[in-house]
């Protein structure tokens, strides 16, 4: 599903964030991306939804090469990928329902389909009863669930999460992880950058460690691996 071949990324300020990355991720996998801050984790993630373009090398997602993908085609790529962030990125003036529906409105779905899909996905994340509330009226965990709902409402094959539990307390983090497990069990590939040792060590999945712009470790069912 995802294939990176000799990916190299140098930012204009001279920092090399990816120094020849080779990796393959199959459909339905659950992958943790771990590593110290500033090691190239975020760049690794960002290149997958074409927020950053590699300086050289190829990134193939379902056969489409992101390295050569035209800017005008990027929106259509993003529609196949759900993205979740540490800071939720919800629109404060829209309520829960509208925030999730937003992802479908921009791709011009019909109102009928939007209503059905949004209610289904809100049910999945357990926020159907809070559909009319605004983000500021919700807890951090609930906001993150809205953001997850928005990322999957379009039933993407791939969900990318950049430290989704980074701003949440441990209990809430587990709730969020349960939702990701549920989504993964339905066949969706999940790639998650995280600093949460407990989660990585408990819910065992493939672990990719990135350091100095290189993959230093790639183990199925591995542990977090860094001493605290």
């Amino acid at each position: 599903m995802i294939e990176m071949v000799n990916v190299y990324k140098k930012y204009p300020n001279g920092i090399v964030a990816a120094n020849g990355i080779d990796v393959e991720i199959k459909q339905g996998e659950f992958v943790y991306v771990v590593g110290p801050s500033g090691a190239g984790k975020s760049t690794f993630i960002k290149m997958m939804y074409r927020e950053e373009r590699p300086t050289s090398g190829d990134i193939l997602i379902n056969g489409v090469n992101l390295a050569t993908l035209k800017n005008s085609k990027v929106p259509y790529l993003r529609r196949q990928i759900g993205v979740v962030f540490q800071d939720f990125k919800l629109l404060p003036r829209l309520n829960v329902y509208e925030n999730v529906a937003f992802a479908l409105e921009v791709i011009e779905e019909t109102p009928k389909v939007i209503r059905k899909k949004v209610m289904d996905v809100l049910e999945l994340v357990g926020l159907k009863h809070k559909a009319r509330m605004f983000p500021t009226e919700l807890s951090g965990g609930e906001q993150q669930r809205v953001s997850i709902a928005r990322s999957i409402v379009n039933t993407p094959k791939l969900v990318i999460a950049d430290e989704p539990t980074g701003n949440l307390d441990p209990d809430t983090s587990w709730e969020i992880m349960n939702i990701f497990e549920e989504i993964n069990s339905r066949g969706t590939t999940i790639i998650m950058a995280t600093h949460n040792r407990e989660i990585v060590n408990t819910l065992r999945h493939r672990v990719i460690a990135v350091e100095g712009g290189l993959i230093t470790r790639d183990v199925y069912g591995g542990d977090y691996g860094y001493e605290s």
Partner: protein, 295 residues
């Protein structure tokens, strides 16, 4: 684009106008002031241009015919002048008429000359393009049976260069004003867009195309332009109505110049103001939103 989406964009742009109350007010004020200035300027420029055109149209070539020319020669000369490239019209004025003109200007005493008229027969010709009068006059001078060709040599060159200079200055000033307006408006709209950076970022992340994001902002710019054009259009129409009705007759009396007619002219200016408002608004939004689309 689907009709549903168009409706959504339409509503979004209107919502944004009312939600960003103060920024809307600021942008609209900037548009208003600029368009008012441009409008007044265009009004003055167009009228000055009319005066210039009138002056230009008065420029004549006076072809004085040889005394020896008989009737056949005169007819031939008239044909020749007509056939000269660049000539628009020719009028014949026999020497009797010329004398009558002098009598009108200098008094009855000149009637004495009616017995033995010393004047020449004359043709008055006009060039198709008044600016080419000198060149055309030279060609006419080469024809047979012309005694002398006069066209206000020296004077009209000065007049034309003066008129051309003032036209160019006016054009440059209008362009400068428009440029300033666009700069002001694109900056004000940029501020409203900065406030909605996050919206744009999220739209891009969930796969909205650039045009989907751009259109509401461009519509918003259009509304700002239209709103900004209302006051200038009203004021300029009223202003010109009064100038035309109060000042116009006085100016016409002095035979100095006539103002442009109220009816088509002021509506053309109004349409121009509206069009400029819309263009400025659309262009301003387009330029500002461009920067934020590179997510």
């Amino acid at each position: 684009m689907k009709a549903r989406t168009a409706g959504r964009h339409f509503r979004d742009s209107l919502k944004s106008i009312s939600r960003n109350g103060w920024m809307t007010f600021a942008s609209v004020s900037a548009v208003t002031v600029t368009l008012l200035l441009v409008g007044v300027f265009v009004m003055i420029m167009m009228n000055l241009n009319k005066v210039a055109d009138d002056l230009e149209k008065d420029v004549e070539i006076k072809v004085i015919v040889e005394l020896t020319a008989d009737e056949a020669a005169i007819t031939k000369l008239e044909e020749d002048i007509k056939n000269t490239p660049g000539i628009a019209e020719v009028a014949y004025s026999p020497k009797e008429d010329e004398l009558n003109k002098l009598v009108l200007d200098f008094g009855e005493d000149l009637r004495l000359f009616e017995q033995q008229n010393p004047l020449h027969n004359v043709f008055y010709a006009k060039a198709e393009n008044p600016q080419e009068t000198a060149a055309v006059a030279k060609k006419v001078d080469n024809l047979d049976n012309t005694f002398e060709v006069k066209y206000g040599e020296g004077k009209i060159e000065k007049l034309f260069s003066f008129l051309n200079t003032s036209r160019n200055i006016g054009l440059v000033l209008i362009l400068a004003l428009l440029f300033t307006a666009m700069f002001l408006i694109s900056n004000t709209i940029r501020i409203t867009i900065v406030a909605r950076r996050r919206d744009i970022e999220i739209m891009k992340l969930v796969g909205a195309t650039n045009w989907f994001i751009r259109i509401p902002f461009i519509l918003e710019g259009m509304w700002l332009g239209i709103l900004g054009a209302i006051i200038p259009i009203t004021l300029i129409t009223i202003l010109y109505y009064n100038i035309y009705n109060v000042l116009g007759p006085k100016l016409a009396q002095g035979k100095l110049f006539e103002l442009l007619n109220f009816s088509p002219f002021i509506y053309q200016v109004d349409a121009l103001i509206l069009l400029m408002g819309v263009l400025i608004g659309v262009w301003g939004s387009f330029m500002s939103v461009r920067k934020f689309l590179r997510v």
